[in-house]
Subunit: 347 residues, 2 copies
């Protein structure tokens, strides 16, 4: 197998292209919702470019790794755009890792800068204490007012996320990578066997799977997507880019709680969400009838949900799409594609 030829007008496939397009066409649409906070696509684009340029001004170089230990917040969404926008590699850390594993990932990734939510200060602090001073990344804190006050920890670094952005260049103009096979993300599978294994995702694959998500689900423009899936989980199955491509709205959620999910579905007319089977169980455990009348779709992975769960979800007006995938293949890669004749079969 030879190297592919490259024509004179080669433009790399990259999911970072979606944000500029959406911000240009739909600048005033709501891009992200987090508690009472709202940001438009223009704002998300501007802030992502500030982040990208601030990281470069901080001294990071193309290919350097920026780790994030963040909940499903607007800052995390900006990181999925702004970090690769500047040619850096995002390393989304599983927020459930213990200090030993965080330490391992940071060192293995060669992390230069870590953006961390104060909810995870204790674990990260312990991880940093295990590292030699010269190994430790520069720390940027996200202190989120939507965090449960009981969980909100202390700041670890000398710079907040907003202070980092303030150092960015508002006129920074991102460019697609010179090569679409360049690394975009480094995701660690959470080691059930020994240490976590690092998986490098490239721009090309992330672009293609972001498109695949839309085609597989037959998504229209302007979906309202509820973040019941952790963004750290294989780059949120590429949905940070799919929803951005479709000029949808990202509805953030720090923690899956059945009542809160019910409220958000009703309030924002959520059309799509993803998650493990345990998310469905949380919804089914909610007392009382659903509080919305529209239908929505949920993509679930892992083992096939049992019939009673599917039946329960349909009763909630939630249509289930069953997929399977791996971090190594950018998230969902096989789908249980519905056949019309199955409509006639019992649950």
């Amino acid at each position: 197998m030879g190297m592919p030829k490259c024509d004179a007008n080669y433009v790399a496939l990259s999911p970072i292209q979606f944000l500029e397009r959406t911000a240009n066409i739909h600048p005033e649409r709501i891009a992200v919702v987090h508690g009472p906070r709202r940001r438009t696509w223009r704002e998300v684009y501007d802030r992502s470019r500030l982040l990208a340029s601030a990281l470069l001004r901080h001294g990071l170089k193309r290919g350097d790794c920026v780790s994030v230990m963040l909940s499903n917040t607007p800052e995390n969404l900006e990181c999925f755009h702004g970090i690769p926008m500047s040619g850096l590699v995002i390393n989304p850390l599983n927020t459930r890792l213990d200090a030993q594993n965080v330490d391992f990932c940071l060192r293995h990734a060669g992390c230069k800068l870590l953006i961390v939510d104060t909810e995870f200060s204790d674990i990260v602090s312990e991880a940093l204490s295990r590292m030699r001073p010269e190994e430790r990344p520069f720390i940027v804190d996200v202190d989120d007012d939507q965090c449960d006050p009981k969980l909100r920890g202390k700041k670890l670094g000398s710079m907040s996320y907003e202070e980092l952005l303030a150092r960015g260049d508002p006129s920074y103009q991102e460019a697609p990578p010179a090569d679409e096979w360049d690394a975009l993300a480094l995701c660690y599978t959470s080691g059930t066997t020994a240490d976590p294994k690092g998986v490098v995702l490239h721009h090309r694959g992330s672009y293609l799977n972001a498109m695949n998500n839309a085609v597989t689900w037959g998504m229209q423009q302007h979906p309202v997507y509820l973040w019941t899936l952790p963004m750290f989980h294989c780059c949120g199955w590429c949905f940070p880019w799919t929803i951005t491509m479709l000029a949808g709205t990202h509805v953030c959620l720090r923690k899956v709680d059945g009542a809160r999910v019910f409220d958000l579905i009703s309030e924002h007319m959520v059309t799509h969400m993803c998650g493990a089977p345990i998310i469905m169980s949380a919804l089914l455990a909610q007392p009382g009838p659903r509080t919305w009348t529209h239908s929505l779709k949920m993509m679930t992975a892992a083992s096939a949900p049992p019939a009673p769960v599917i039946a329960g979800m349909y009763k909630l007006g939630i249509d289930i799409t069953h997929v399977y995938g791996l971090t190594e293949v950018f998230g969902p890669v096989t789908v249980c594609e519905w056949k019309s004749e199955w409509d006639k079969l019992p649950v």
Copy 2:
């Protein structure tokens, strides 16, 4: 700009991959309708593989050009799959060209084999008479019983399309091209200035635009697509592959006639169609109310349709998407993306 790197598991992007997937998942679904004729996805896949292997057995080599002068028929659809499937290049000729231009295209393309519908026998015969014997391609005739008897001409060659297929290998297994930048199609712009200009389309771009069509239109699985757009027009804007990818149904149509289009929309519950503004005029000129109750979408290119045309189409239950493109960019490349706030504006 360097050449892109290529990873060890490189698989070329190519629209020929869609047919195998759809035939495997939905073998018994109706793939194509032409008058009373119906073919399933299994049959279209099998026949496309027969075509691919028959062309190779005929002596054609990877990169050779096969021209088609065909109406919107099942054979034409098979050509858009079977010809590139074997590494050959499809050259869809504009069926409205005169003999001089057909002659030019066949010689300029270095056409080795021409598949021609007998409706165009006279023009092609005249074109061939202008060529030296050694320049003339091998002729394969399509004699379509759905052709208006008054237009059906004589066969020009010694082999029919069905005889060609009968020489194919039923066990032939296609493979994606070694390089996604390989040529897939050669389309001639119909020279308003001097001779037609040849545009080479590659597998990568055809794949990406086939995907784009689905994303732009927010298409669901199983669309019913009416061929009001000529397939020769920039590879039917990549819809031969988009509809195949979505396991939809191609409804063939040799000639746009308002009454016939009305009938087909009703009979097959058509969901999508494309075409120039003149197609809309033909529909609006139809007497009597629409004979269907479902809504459908039409993609139209060229200049923006005037307000009365848009209003008339909405009255017919047809939602208009306005695009613009060029053969050089695989068809539609810009879209008038609807903004919610426009809903409040007058027509």
